[in-house]
Every structure is written in structure tokens, then in C-alpha cells.
Symmetry: C2
Subunit: 714 residues, 2 copies
């Protein structure tokens, strides 16, 4: 007998040394490594009671069983009868005692997706009840309960209720039908279209589990630069196979609609949204889609922007286009998300202003099932942007937030950049469009203007790399999108804390250090890339690395020089009344703050002002000195992250430790590249020296200007 | 204490249920599941003795420790002193006792890569010695030893020696610099060029381990449709990072050389191989490469074929081109692999004949460090081809075999096709170029003509999918390439047996069933795709699915109709003297057999003859009836594979079981598609009915002809 024990211990030990490759994301379900707590959990949780045979409830039960079995390191059985420690799942309709036990008001407040987790006494036993009006809520509750254990929280006296603040919580995949991903830095697309619908990859299930665990309830499978082919029957069958998997995790699929599809796949002569044949074609297409995918979510559309066709090709408005599609899906309860990211090739107008100019006049003209999807800032997912002036400017239209998780302008999948501070900075910005509270969060969640439809989307950073996001910390940005869409009031620190504990370890020294790194990381990137309000000075096309000198793009506003406007007198884009007057698109309270160089936050300074090189900053330094200081501080801070990380070697698995160590190494090199290239270039305008206290750039401006990256992902 | 045991058993059980995703390939190292054998192994293996601190010996020691620890389910320590059961690693130079113990002759016979595994008595202990003249041999020996345990073989009295028959055992990656893979069906490229050299993915190490375990000692990283950029300094630094990882696994890196590189990246006006400036450019480039990668292997070149530039652009021969590159790398002991896969756009000559016509006259003109790389058959990796007539026709030139692992013409990563029977069928073919033995294997391994340089390459089927090859059984084809290149005398059954036991389980019922499926699978595919010598009737461009009707390609020999030549009188390509006379390229003994319709193997019939529809086959059926029979048998056999597989559910993990079950489902559908489309199409020529005993095609020919796959991988 003793021999067997040794054998078993041996096997156990040597199975557990296997490296972690990041595939499991934040759903690792390792045995609780606090012995006291483990003992408690085992007493507090003895089994699962659930009368479920399919759908979301079955998914919840399976996840709970898998998760608890892992976390408790013992079998957690399904129970027909409750005992002390039973985790019980069910809706009030299934379990009539719940209404009495919990109260009708409480249940009403949960809506369709909310949940309740309560320690209660039932049939003389102490049980843990996870309930919700609909099965979806119970699924979310199960994940919440698992998170408590993953974070080693007490579960003795639970009384938790939660409902999502935002209705549509979506990923936008910019994935093409040939399995490439636009702005993808983590390998190819996870959608293996060639082998769908027959081959249902395990990744689809794990993708759905991960999304459900953070409350994401929809996914747009295809690129906004759209391909009409996806709307043809063989492809819809592929989509249906994914939808069938995602359905049990409360995730709806959406597709991008190519506006010219009636011409391209429908053999019509026009795609004019007011043409009856066109309208019928879309109606029929919608009917066909819903016959194949009964719970299809709807369409996301990029129209009349960057070469995409749209209603303006036929002298119609964005509202005409959106409403035609909205009418087609309305009978099936579908919705249309119409992107506000439009700017015209012909117009010489400041690109900052164009979306507002196009869309604000259309407020009130959209159908009830249309949302206008607005990027967080007016240009394009820069390291820092002021909030988009459309927020608050279209009170009759539900505006949906579009964030970019994939780090197109933030170091690809190579730089450690935690995006939550960027996201919440925008959410917390006050648009001043209402007297009593009109933050962007309040616009987005529908409360400011009383919209029941609301949404938040993140452009996915997911690819075929084993760890999903290329950079292990990219997972945190995916995680953030889900959690913030559920509850926009969560702080970056709260979200980081959750993610670190589940993804790595609960050990305090590790959690504290990594949380500090994450919270600082976005400002660090701003400093070494685009401090003081600089923006869009990345390499042309691929956006890899610095190229503030670039001026050869076929349109003015694709050139960095368009955005920074450096000359011998100073630097920055004058968007005050004496310049493009983009500031007029904000409410007076906002505009006044930004248009006055004395009150404009210095972090946004060059977004709005062309500032003399010797302008005195709050620090007492000149603008040029301050710029040098920011760039150098950015690099120094990356080195601080490297030192911090190097101390954490013994807390986690070697594989992920080394991955991040190596990536920080590249980030340091690229931060130096950014700093040197930008300062050497801007110096040609400022004519001032880089202060002697700093390390000298070890390459010339010419060296940096000649670098060339034809195969950078884009 | 008892409680802890329960805890431990619990943890163990619930850690071990984790699904297998295929990432570990045939190197799973699970605990031996035969209790008696496990007990024996534990007594027979007690530790590892190795005086090694780096390089290949360290890799061998690490692999042994990891593998044995897994297989024995206990720690296998490193030992300074030997005990009974020590596994001892070292060269005769390190361990002088070996020469006496083993004998000098035996050691000499091992060469540079061979190894010896012996149970010996040393210092009064029973130990297992793994030795070789060079560290590389010990690395291979270590993997052989691990394989014995993985296959649950006895290890009590070991006396194994092995040396590779072929010197260059290579993978050819058709991977592009933008991370796409030509003819790749398993996701994108595993080479993450964007993040190299700074980020060294764990996959690179596991790729090297897998290759070393089967004896592969070289890898061509880049596509034969080449990009000169890879030869520039920043990219060579990326290559060097891979080379540094692969070096310790005895794997050299090679690159494809774009012939026009001197013009494209060298600013020269010409790439004429006899131009002195061009020759100097390549010499300097080689010197640069070797300064960065001291053990660089050399170049693979596709020239003057399918649009690639080459020496003929300058009215020079393939020998002129190859020799120029050979001279450049010769001082560094580099080699050049020059592909014979050439066919001219202008020539109306039967494509079958063109490589032979171009290359045979050049025999004797190549430098000593040039190999000519010849595809197994004269056309292009078809399900079945006769052996390439160049084999045996260039006795003064080392000819290297090129197989295609990736299933361009064999169902992509969707069809279960074990390629070993295809590979060995060619190896075993007798070219009749020598009186006493001149099989293709003897040509390839250099014995027929006394070449010391020899090579075998496989076009890689590896991609970024978690399981590397898309289809779990694609791994078997990668495995086969390595094992056959080491020992071309291995049979498909032996290789399949090894692979199944290591990849899945040693359980007899499983091994027997799967081995049967694998051995039958290639002929099954031939039957439902291209029976009786049909070839190259796949979809245009992507080669997905059947398109025997296709006749719109810009060159004749890209059209299926060029190859099958069906008309009302019959079907097949007359390559006898009354036709293209390609048969004249074979030796008389071969030619005579093939040119006589009575002696031509029926499996090659339509390769060489245009055969009347009512030609009487050996079965007594007409050609048309036989063709029907083959196509229907192909589909039936896929269904047999499905039934066979369905019985194996309880033998392996659910994840891989389901993957294969689903893929067989698609294979069945696509086999029906092939059968119906081809028979309905050929029926338009034969004018005969499909015999009534068969299930009727449920679609029309028009339906199949209208199918269209613009996004199929290609």
C-alpha cells in the first residue's frame, strides 16, 4: 500500500510540472494553493444540483463541475438531492421556492441576464443558490462564483447580485475569409472557414467559455472591410455551425454587411438603399439568414469610409442605408450597428471633425434597432485621444462604443500595454451635454438619454497563437472589455487585480508588482510614443514604429506630418477657432477648457494647439525640454518594468515568465527607437539640443528614416 | 495522513483528465500504463549520468530526463556516479572505456550521426550506455531509447546500433515572410518573423525536439517561390535566432535563394551567373550569412519554373546557376539544392518530359556540393505517380528526393491519408539503370552511384494550428519523412505502428485498427479521387475538390483536361511512342512494361495510355465499369474508416477522438463529391450508365461544375 502512495505522489508531482502555454487564459482552475482555504472550500462545496439537460444551464453546470473539480482537487459530483454545500442552479420558474426566498422585486431587478448568488437555507441544508430569471444569468453567475474561488475569496455568506449595465457586449473580429486578420498580431484567424461547418474546433468552445466568463454576449465574425461572400448560403452554413456552439454560452453571432452585396452576389444593378429591388433583396437575405441562424444578432456596417461602398454612392444618407438594413432584420429582432468612423477622400476638412459633421445632423432619423458605433476618440485608436465629440451630440440615437483591443497603434502584440486606463479615461470624461451627469459612460449605457439599447464593442486581439493574443498581457485587454461592458464603473485596478489572480497567481508580491506595471503601462507607452498630445505618427500603412517624417501617403490625413505639424515655430495641430475649430464640436464647458492653452490638460496639448518650442510648461520646462523628458521617462519606465518583472521569476511557470521577459526586451528596444527617432526628427524643427543629462541617441535620424518593413503585419 | 493520501489521489486523478490537443505530437511521455512493465522500467532505470553542460549532449540529457520522468512517473535524477540502472551518455572521447568495451570497428561504423545503445557492465554496475562518435548521435540515441519505452518494449538486454542511410534529412517550408504558407492547411507559418529575433517562441524548441526525435537534421525556412528580403541583414538576424535554437538539436537552417536577388537587393543590373560582379555579390552574401550563422546549411533554389527567375533568363544553364551559388558557399562547407521541378511556359512538350529533358544533359556539370532535388513523380505530388524518370538518369549527380507532406492534392488537412505507402512505393521502384540493384532508394541514398552526398526532403505540413498539422494524422506524415530518411527500408506498417503507439496508446485493439486504416488510406484516396492512373484533375489554382472539366487556365498543363484527355473513344494520356513518348525517358525494362497496355499496371494505366471505354480490365469489367467500381469503393472505404474509428471511442482522449470523427465525416462528404463529380463528367464521354447497383449521385454535373471556392487555401 505504501508503495502505491509513493507512486501516486510521484505521478502527481511530475504531471504538475508541465509548463503553461497561456491557452487556458483566466480559466485555469488550478487547485487552490492555500491549504486552509482549500479545506474550507471543500467543506463549503459538496456537489452541484441542477435540473438541466441542454443549453446554457448545461453549460453552466459543466463549467462549474470542471472548475470546482480543478479548484478543489476532488470530484464535485452532480447531486439529485441537496446536502450541506450543494451549489444549486435554477430559474424561479424551475424552482418555485426561489421567488419566496428571494423576493419578487429582487428578481425583477435582475432582468434577463442578471444573477443572484446567495448562501441560503433550503430543505434544512446550507446551500449556495445561483439563480437568474433566464438561464443566461445563471451561466454568468456560475462564472462569477468560480471567479470568487479563483481569487481565493470567502464564500461563507454570499449575497451577490449583478446585472449588466450595457446590453450588447461585443467583440468585433476584423477577420477575413482567407484566414488573415486585419491588424491581427497573434497569428491568423481562429475561424477555420475551410473546414467549417464539418469541423468544429475545440477553440470555438473555449472561445465561447472565455467570453461568457466575462459577460461578452455577441461576436461579429467578419472584418468591417467586408466581403459579400459571407452572406451566401454555403458560408452562412459555416456561420451557423459557430452560432450553434456559441448559443449555449449566450453569445449571438453578427456579420458585417457589405453594402454593395446586392450587386456583388445578388446580380442587381444597384445597391441604392431606396431602390425597391434592393430593399427586397436585403429583406429576403435577412429571412434566409434567420432561417439558418434563428438567433442571428444583426449587421455591423462600415460604409463610405476608406473605400468601402455605402449609401452615399447613391446620394443617400447614412440613415437611409442603416434604416434599409434595420427594416430587413427588424421582423427577426435583429439590430444594425452603423459605424461613425467615416472620413472623405475629397474633403480637405480636418479629419477630426468629419464623423461629427456627417452624423450629428442625422440624429433622430435612425430606426429604433440601429446603433451608431463610435470609436472612443475622433481619429483612430491612438495611445491617447480626447473623447469623441459625437458622444452626447446625438441624444436621440443609441451610441455604441468601439474600442480597439488589438494594438494597432500600441506596439502590436509585443508591447505590454494594459488598456483599461485608456478605456476608463474616456468613459469617465464628462461631455457636459446634460446638466446632471453626462459622462461618456452614461451616454453609452443609455441612462443619459433613456435608451434601452446600448452597446460596447472591442476590436478583437484574438488569433491562432496558442495563447490567443500573442502577448500574454493582451489577454488582459480582452478580459477588460468584457468586464467593463458589464460594469463600466469598475476601475482599472479592480480589473487588473481580478485578471492577475486568475491568470497567474494569488501571491501578493506578484499581484502587487504586476498590478503596478499594468496600471502604469499605458502612460509609459504614451510617453515613449506620443507624449503631450502627439498622435498618428506611426509608420505608414502597417503603423509599426515611428515615422513622424512620413509625407508620401496618397491622402493628406494618412501622413504623420498632417497630424503633428511641426515647424520651426512649434508643434501641434491648432484645432481652436484660429485653426480647424474642431473644438467647436464639444460643449462650451469642454471647449473652453481645451481651447485655452493655460487650462488644456498638457496630456492633450498638441491635439489642440500649435505650441511654440519654448512654451513654458507647468513643470517650468520648455515644451522641447518637456518632450525630451517624456520620451526619456518612457524608456526608463520600460526598464523599470523589466526590473520589476525580473524579480517575479519564482512565482509563475517558466514558459510564460520567459515569454514576457523576452517581450519586454523587445519593448525596451522599440521604446528607444521611438524616443530617438522622434526626438532626432523633431529636433530638426526645434533646433535645440537634447539635454546633456540624457543618454545620446546611438543612431542617426537618417538611419531611422531608412528603416523599412514591407512584411510587418497590417 | 490518510486524508492527505485521498487528497493527493484526488488531485492526481483530476489533473490527468485534461484533454489532449495534439500539441505534444509523438513525444507525450505519459506514465507507462502497464503496471508490470512500469515496475520493471523503474528498476532498470535509476538515473542519468552525463558530463555535459551545453549543446546537443545537454539537449539529449534534458530530453531523457523529461521523457523518463514522465514515462516512469517518478523523478529520474542526474547522477555523478553510476549505479545499477544508470543511463550513461558520452562519446568515446569523453569516456575512454567505451572504445575497449565496444570495439573500434563498431564505433567507426557509426559515422557522425549514428549511435549505439547497449546494456553493459561498468564499474561493477549494470548500466545502459548511449554513445556515438559525435554528440549528435547520442541525441538520436536518446530519442531511440525513449521510443522503446513509449512503445513498451523490453529494455533488459539492449544492443542497438543505428546510422542514417541518408545524409540530408530535411523539411522544406513553403512559408512566406508575411506568415502565410503556400499550400499550408494548418493555419499560418510558425515563424513569427515580426517578433524575431527578440521573441523565441516555445514552439521553436518543440519543433526542434520533434524533428530531432525522428532524425531530421535540416530545415529550409522559406518558400521556394522565394523572396530576396530574407537575405538582408535584419532578416538574417531573425534566421540566426532560429538557428541558435535548432543547433543544439543537430538541425541546420537553409534558405531559399531568389535568383534575382543581386538585382533586387544588391542594386546590380543583372543576375547573370557568369557575370563577375554577380558572382562576387553572391560570394560576399555567403560570407555575410556565415558570419551571422556559422553552420548555415546552404541554399534551395527554384529557378526558371512557374515564373521564378533563373539562369535561363541570361541564356545560361541550370548548372551555371547552381555552380555559381555552390562556389559561393563551398568555402563554408555549404551546399546547394537545385530543384528539377521546371517546366516551360513556351514549350508545348508534355510536361511529364520537361525536367528530364532539361536536366539529364547537365549530368556531370554540377559542382560537388550541388544536389538536384527531384519530386517523387514527373508531374506534381499526385495521389499516385510513376517514379520520376530522372532517378537513375543522372549517375554523376546526387539526386535528392522531394516528397510533399502537405496534402495539396490529397485532401488538404481534412482527409486522413497516410503517405508512407506512397513514399515507399517510389523508393522500392526499380529504375533498371544498373544491373545489380538500382531502386529509387538506392539512387537516393547514394549507394547506386557512390555519392557521399545524399538527401531526402519533405514539403512541410506544419502550421500554427495547435496540433501543428491541422489533421491529427498529418503528424504521421511528418513522422514518416524523418524515419524514412533515416532508414528507407522501414515499411509503412512499422512506421505506422511506432507512430500510433507513441501518439495515442499501446492498446492492441486500437493499434491494430488504426494501423489498418492508415495502411489502406492512401489507396482509398486514390480510388475516390484519381483511380487507374488519372491525375491532376483537381480544382484550378487551389486544387480543392474535383474539376476534371476545367479548361480555362492560362497554360495548357494547368488544366485537368490536358491530363485526362477524355473523349468519346476513351480516356488517358498516351505517353507511348504513338503519343508524347515520355516513356522513352525510362530504361527499356520499365518502358516495355508500361508501354504495353497488357503489362502496364492498371493503377498507372491512364498515366500512359489513352484507353477505350470498353477496354477489358483484368477483373473482366470494362474500363468504365472498373472506374465506377473504384470510385464507389473509395467512398465505401471511407465509410469503413468511419465505422472503424467509431469503435475506438474509449481508447483515447475525447478531444482527439472527436476531431478525427468530424474530419472523417467531411472526408466522406468530399469523397462522395469526388466520385459523383468525376463519374458524371466522364460519363458525358463514355455515354454509359453508372451500374444500377450503386447509389445514384444526388446532384447534377451542373451543380458540381458551378461550385466555386475563392477562399480555399492555396
Amino acid at each position: 500500500m505504501k508503495k502505491w502512495i509513493v507512486v501516486i505522489i510521484g505521478i502527481m508531482l511530475f504531471n504538475s510540472v508541465s509548463a503553461e502555454n497561456g491557452y487556458d487564459l483566466w480559466l485555469r482552475y488550478k487547485v487552490t494553493d492555500n491549504a486552509v482555504l482549500l479545506q474550507q472550500y471543500r467543506q463549503q462545496i459538496t456537489g452541484i444540483n441542477c435540473t438541466c439537460s441542454d443549453g446554457k444551464l448545461l453549460a453552466a453546470q459543466q463549467e462549474l463541475q470542471q472548475g470546482l473539480t480543478g479548484l478543489l482537487g476532488k470530484n464535485v459530483p452532480l447531486q439529485k438531492l441537496v446536502t450541506n454545500g450543494t451549489v444549486m442552479l435554477g430559474t424561479p420558474a424551475q424552482l418555485p421556492f426561489i421567488k419566496k426566498s428571494v423576493g419578487e422585486n429582487t428578481l425583477t431587478g435582475l432582468g434577463d441576464e442578471g444573477y443572484l448568488i446567495r448562501s441560503i437555507r433550503h430543505e434544512g441544508k446550507n446551500i449556495i443558490l445561483i439563480t437568474g430569471n433566464k438561464e443566461a444569468g445563471i451561466l454568468y453567475g456560475a462564472f462569477h462564483f468560480l471567479r470568487l474561488l479563483q481569487m481565493q475569496q470567502p464564500i461563507a455568506q454570499l449575497n451577490i447580485s449583478s446585472t449588466p449595465a450595457i446590453k450588447l457586449r461585443l467583440l468585433n473580429h476584423w477577420d477575413n475569409l482567407n484566414r488573415t486578420v486585419e491588424r491581427g498580431y497573434a497569428g491568423g484567424s481562429i475561424w477555420d472557414w475551410q473546414r467549417l461547418p464539418g469541423y468544429r474546433d475545440q477553440r470555438y468552445y473555449d472561445y465561447a467559455r472565455a467570453n461568457a466568463s466575462i459577460g461578452i454576449n455577441g461576436t461579429v465574425l467578419t472584418n468591417v472591410n467586408a466581403n459579400a461572400m459571407i452572406l451566401t448560403e454555403p458560408w452562412l452554413q459555416k456561420v451557423a455551425a459557430l452560432a450553434a456552439i456559441f448559443r449555449q454560452y449566450n453569445i449571438k453571432v453578427y456579420l458585417t454587411a457589405r453594402f454593395s452585396a446586392p450587386v456583388e452576389i445578388g446580380n442587381l444593378k444597384t445597391a441604392d438603399p431606396l431602390n425597391e429591388e434592393v430593399r427586397k433583396w436585403w429583406k429576403d437575405k435577412a429571412d434566409e439568414i434567420y432561417s439558418i441562424i434563428p438567433d442571428f444578432g444583426g449587421f455591423l456596417v462600415k460604409a463610405n469610409s476608406e473605400g468601402q461602398p455605402g449609401p452615399q454612392n447613391y446620394q443617400r444618407t447614412h440613415a437611409d442605408g442603416a434604416n434599409m438594413l434595420a427594416d430587413a432584420v427588424a421582423p427577426h429582432n435583429g439590430i444594425v450597428m452603423w459605424r461613425a468612423f467615416v472620413y472623405s477622400n475629397e474633403s480637405p476638412e480636418d479629419r477630426f471633425k468629419q464623423a461629427y459633421n456627417e452624423f450629428k445632423p442625422l440624429d433622430g432619423q435612425f430606426r429604433k434597432n440601429v446603433l451608431v458605433q463610435v470609436k472612443n476618440g475622433p481619429i483612430d485608436f491612438q495611445p491617447r485621444e480626447p473623447f469623441h465629440p459625437l458622444f452626447g451630440a446625438m441624444p436621440q440615437t443609441p451610441l455604441m462604443m468601439e474600442y480597439q483591443l488589438t494594438q494597432e497603434y500600441m506596439g502590436f502584440a509585443t508591447h505590454l500595454v494594459y488598456e483599461a486606463p485608456l478605456f476608463t479615461e474616456v468613459l469617465n470624461a464628462d461631455t457636459h451635454t446634460k446638466p446632471n451627469g453626462s459622462t461618456v459612460a452614461q451616454i453609452i449605457d443609455g441612462t443619459a438619454d433613456g435608451h434601452s439599447l446600448s452597446g460596447m464593442a472591442g476590436v478583437s486581439n484574438i488569433g491562432s497563437d496558442i495563447n490567443w493574443t500573442g502577448h500574454p498581457f493582451g489577454q488582459a485587454n480582452w478580459y477588460t472589455l468584457g468586464r467593463l461592458a458589464w460594469n463600466p464603473a469598475l476601475t482599472p485596478a479592480q480589473i487588473a487585480n481580478e485578471w492577475i489572480r486568475q491568470t497567474f497567481t494569488n501571491k501578493k508580491a506578484f499581484v502587487d508588482t504586476v498590478q503596478q506595471m499594468m496600471l502604469a503601462s499605458r502612460e509609459i507607452m504614451v510617453n515613449y510614443m506620443t507624449p503631450l498630445g502627439l498622435h498618428h505618427i506611426m509608420g505608414y500603412g502597417h503603423h509599426y514604429g515611428p515615422a513622424p517624417w512620413y509625407n508620401k501617403a496618397p491622402r493628406a490625413d494618412w501622413n504623420p506630418v498632417y497630424f503633428h505639424r511641426a515647424d520651426s515655430t512649434g508643434i501641434g495641430f491648432n484645432r481652436t477657432a484660429s485653426g480647424s475649430n474642431a473644438l467647436a464640436q464639444y460643449q462650451p464647458a469642454v471647449r473652453r477648457q481645451y481651447e485655452n492653452i493655460a487650462t488644456c490638460p498638457e496630456e492633450l496639448l498638441l491635439w489642440f494647439h500649435h505650441v511654440p518650442w519654448d512654451h513654458k510648461m507647468k513643470s517650468g520646462k520648455t515644451l522641447w525640454e518637456e518632450m525630451c523628458e517624456k520620451y526619456y521617462r518612457g524608456v526608463d519606465s520600460v526598464r523599470w518594468m523589466q526590473r520589476s518583472w525580473s524579480r517575479l521569476k519564482n512565482y509563475i511557470d517558466e514558459e510564460r515568465f520567459k515569454q514576457i521577459e523576452q517581450l519586454l526586451g523587445i519593448q525596451e528596444q522599440e521604446a528607444v527607437w521611438w524616443r530617438n527617432a522622434c526626438l532626432l526628427y523633431f529636433q530638426t524643427f526645434s533646433g535645440k539640443p537634447i539635454p546633456a543629462k540624457y543618454e545620446k541617441p546611438d543612431r542617426t535620424l537618417e538611419y531611422y528614416m531608412e528603416l523599412n518593413f514591407p512584411y510587418a503585419p497590417h
